[in-house]
Subunit: 187 residues, 4 copies
Amino acid sequence: MGRFQSPEVRRRQVLDAATRLAVEEGLENTSVAKVAAAAGIAKGSIYLHFDSRQDLLAALQADLWAQMLERPSEIAADQDLSWAAKLDAVVEHWMRFEFDYHDLYHAVFHAVTTGSDEPLEAARTLLGDVITAGAQAGEFDLGGLDEGIVLEFLLHGYIGPCFHHSDPDAAVANVQQLFRRATGAIA
Amino acid sequence: MGRFQSPEVRRRQVLDAATRLAVEEGLENTSVAKVAAAAGIAKGSIYLHFDSRQDLLAALQADLWAQMLERPSEIAADQDLSWAAKLDAVVEHWMRFEFDYHDLYHAVFHAVTTGSDEPLEAARTLLGDVITAGAQAGEFDLGGLDEGIVLEFLLHGYIGPCFHHSDPDAAVANVQQLFRRATGAIA
Amino acid sequence: MGRFQSPEVRRRQVLDAATRLAVEEGLENTSVAKVAAAAGIAKGSIYLHFDSRQDLLAALQADLWAQMLERPSEIAADQDLSWAAKLDAVVEHWMRFEFDYHDLYHAVFHAVTTGSDEPLEAARTLLGDVITAGAQAGEFDLGGLDEGIVLEFLLHGYIGPCFHHSDPDAAVANVQQLFRRATGAIA
Amino acid sequence: MGRFQSPEVRRRQVLDAATRLAVEEGLENTSVAKVAAAAGIAKGSIYLHFDSRQDLLAALQADLWAQMLERPSEIAADQDLSWAAKLDAVVEHWMRFEFDYHDLYHAVFHAVTTGSDEPLEAARTLLGDVITAGAQAGEFDLGGLDEGIVLEFLLHGYIGPCFHHSDPDAAVANVQQLFRRATGAIA
DNA sequence: AATGAATGAGGCTTCATTCAT
DNA sequence: GATGAATGAAGCCTCATTCAT
């Protein structure tokens, strides 16, 4: 590790260190001093890259959100998939993501919200569009259910089964079916 | 407000003040000093009623859990209700509770857990028993779904729609139907 | 234990409780609250018997001093003993006392002095008189040594061997001989 | 006094301030806040140099012990001195040290021990070795006395005469002779 | 750009003492 | 005489942030 690094690299090193700490000790206990130590730079130098601790934490969240939304965006745009298949694919991606980054995920999202709600809104829009389009295409049968409410229900619901790691594959399969039941996906 | 109060009264006053603060500023930012000020007593007096800040926060949670579980326990034990009706009733209770105490609810439950997991387990057991019994009674058709996974899904899912206050009644009705869809309740 | 006690009895109960605590947890950690609890009375009631914590602690010391000086006073006054025998007897008493109340002794005397120096002065006088008189009687041979200095030396010196409990009898015998060597007691 | 100082300098400043306070008000009453004020730095800055108040206090003791043991170690190792001469030299050093730092000495050593017992053990070993070797060399005649007990006796005894400042030289000379009497040093 | 000593407000907790009952 | 709730100052420690170098 050279002593001089470009700002981008340094910023990334700091974020990575912060991520590690957030997972290991929780967001609340991730102090600026610890992050600096873990990143191998001086405490004061953190402030060359982030305006404040809040700013750093918000960047952490944004990072996570970006990873969470990238692939699903592609899935949603894929013309070759049925809406039900898209639903399945998005669920699988989010759940696997959750399994992989479980601790970080909860450390970051359970914390008092520090950043903007934009990314959350993006996730909402993404899944919402799939449901709307699928319903219009006749693949889903909401049977009078409010689309917005179904959306919120699913967005929260899939998290629950992610807490039990025993059999991820089975969990994914079950939740996919639960999504289909909720949306009235035509089998 | 007299200067001397019975321990019960003071304890309640402190808890109420803490509750108010937790809602307004978040659990993390609810310091002993603020609670004392809000309760109108000296900082040191907090410790006449609680062993520590953790103890106080745990009491807050316990309080909330108790309210959340009392009525559903009765519902689950009611011999006159069908299992689907019990499901509906529990959902309604939890959602209305959530609507009423929205900010507190999230301030308290999103925080790092301070108390025991007992009450959470109690909630899980309560809802789990309804699902199990309903399935055995033939009222629900899980169709191969893992009961535990469905349980976790529902336990998290109903929270989502509680965030949008526009039409509580509609939200409740929708979520009830979503619960029925998930459990395969025979319409 | 009746609820109402004469002030003298109560005062003694409090002192006994304080003594117990001082031994078990150290003087510094002997708080008024603990003493009250151990004595079975209310915290505020301590102040009916003692002006302050300092006062209570001073009373503890005075108590201990009294026990420490009572018997040696008699010994010093006993016409039938030689001066060397008195020296031996006083040493033995003080050492055995120390062995018996070791923890309390050090808890109390090693603490910042809280009371007056009167009792310490009394001990000094008592032992000093024995040395002076023994020297005048020709039983001791100070050989030019300053009486006051010998006195201080002995008064501190006998404490050291009291820390090692393995063989009290041997310790006493050894220290008695060391006192004789120091005072030049004619064997 | 510049605002920024090297850690070594600041650490010493803090220790010096703490030393002053310990002498003036006693170890127990030497709070972190007072030390900081006396050292002219912020309270929090104390923790840049010491892990805790205990750590600071232990450093104080260690400091004192180091000064107390340095010269005697050299004396004990000096091949040109007789054992009796070593005994005299060590006594003189310790007593003069005690006279110079009287208040600090007692403030620090009478307090509940905060650091390790290592240095005390070192002092014990040092003096014990002199006695043992002197006895084996035939310079001392313990006459059946237990070496360990004599050691403890002397280690405590020399402190007493240090309390009376009137004539340090005489005090030293007297205690040297008392040490010789105790060890049966051949005049 | 980078450092890290320094700050100072704020956090939790203890405790001797008072005083209304 | 006895109580124990209440006080408030003081104690130790943490930490985001600043700034001289």
